[in-house]
Amino acid sequence: MLSTGAKFAKGVDMRVAVIGVGLTKFGEVWTKSLRDIALEAGVKAISDANISAADIDAMFIGNMSAGRFSGQEHLGALVADQVGVSIPSTRVEGACASGSLALREGVSSIMAGLSDVVLVGGAEKMTDISTEYATTGLMGAADEEWEGFHGMTFPGLYALMARKHMHDFGTTHEQMASAAVKNHHNATMNKDVAQYPFEITVDKVLNSAMIASPLTLLDCSPITDGAAAIILCREDLAKKYCDTPVYVTGSGQASDTLALHDRKSLTGLQAAVDASRVAYKMAGIGVKDVDVCEVHDCFTIAEVMACEDLGFCKKGVGGKFIEDGNTQIGGKIPVNTSGGLKACGHPVGATGIKQASEIVLQLRGDAGKRQVNGAEIGMTHNVGGSGATCVVNIFRR
């Protein structure tokens, strides 16, 4: 099965620029509601882009489960209301990949000629309910009828993949843990946003509370409140607003079965392989050209599989690749400079936009202490559910 983007990939000239980014502090933000954080991120992005709300033609808002987490649906209208505009505003949902899907919709809208300037946002408020209810809510991203029914959880699904990866390829828990250690370290250089900007060790990961064996608490991304926004505009208008625009040059999206047990492989995400191949082709680059990447490390094993699926290393050796330091800042291909989902936090619908913001900061040279020197091409890898949706977006300065 070929993902549908493939036949269009060659010869697509995207002509879309990112001219502004905005993020809220991620964490348990119990003094602010969903609308507060969504507005905060939007306003920050609008100021960063040096535009006014009146310049925006359309908005796309990534959100997974506001209905379940906060009792609020109709997020498109909610955000338009908060920003005080009456333009088209649409919620986009694809579980934890909602943010990147919203970004793709924004790009499409500009390419189709429907809009010149678009605000793409993502927001999720997850800490107003107990962990048990959040766990149940998150399972809405998996197969409710055939996985959730049996008491399956998200950590559980990734634990099933981790165990199989360890069995088939000899991947060790220490290797997986090294991804979390690196991401927590990167988060210490992203204090304004990151939920957990503190150092941890491999030992700490191995000895923290068991969540779904073999995965422990420190193998897991947390439950997070947070919002992110970026401003997209037509390439030829970008310089009018901004001296350092970043361009979207490739985008791939692919789907797979909703339920994990239905897949041919349990040790990688085919949708990630497919989406990345389309994105590389569209951007006219190869994997070696990528200077910095944000991957969807909802669990440590997910970062291991991402390195393999995206082609950073060969199938089966992702654990060693990370343990050897290849994905640190200064390594072969720095991964998750923001701290990743693990340490920066994972407000599900906002994650894809946060990833894009981090890449934009890196390509502008604005990433401060965590700057990857000379980064020109960056990529985001955002996964919905246990791999049923995957979006890969490529950016260049």
Binding site: T131, E147, G151, R163, D262
Partner: protein, 132 residues
């Protein structure tokens, strides 16, 4: 609306594409490989199989707190059957492992909090005596 799926959930009944000889559980009405060219029939799969991968869940979702920690596995059913996910019960921790032979067993899955409805379905347990 789980009652719609009772037949499948109680008996490991799924569907099968006679053209490409692939089993589907949960049942599919369209074969992803053969599309409209496939021939889908209902099929009762073997109740025996082998653990492909497993986990023990200590942080349960709402409604499963009482049973935690509990084991969950993906089991490859015999006779070229499909992969099926379910809890593994009546199994010592030392015994639980990759490749363990298991059979289905009809059990209570959970109690629906709001209405107190008890949901039943299939779980797995180690095979007690295998008839070869």
């Amino acid at each position: 609306m789980l009652w719609r799926r009772f037949r499948n959930k109680y008996h490991l009944i799924g569907t099968y594409c006679e053209k490409c000889k692939t089993g589907f559980y949960p049942p599919r009405e369209v074969c992803p490989e053969c599309r409209r060219g496939g021939k889908i029939v209902e099929k009762q799969f073997s109740n025996y199989g082998e653990i492909v991968t497993y986990t023990v869940v200590s942080a349960p979702p709402a409604g499963f707190e009482k049973g935690a920690p509990y084991a969950l596995a993906i089991v490859k059913m015999d006779d070229n059957g499909p992969n099926v996910v379910g809890q593994v019960v009546d199994c010592d921790d030392e015994k639980l492992g990759m490749g363990l032979r298991v059979e289905t067993t009809f059990r209570k899955i959970y109690e629906d909090g709001k209405e107190g409805i008890v949901q039943y379905g299939l779980k797995f347990m180690p095979i007690t005596h295998e008839n070869l």
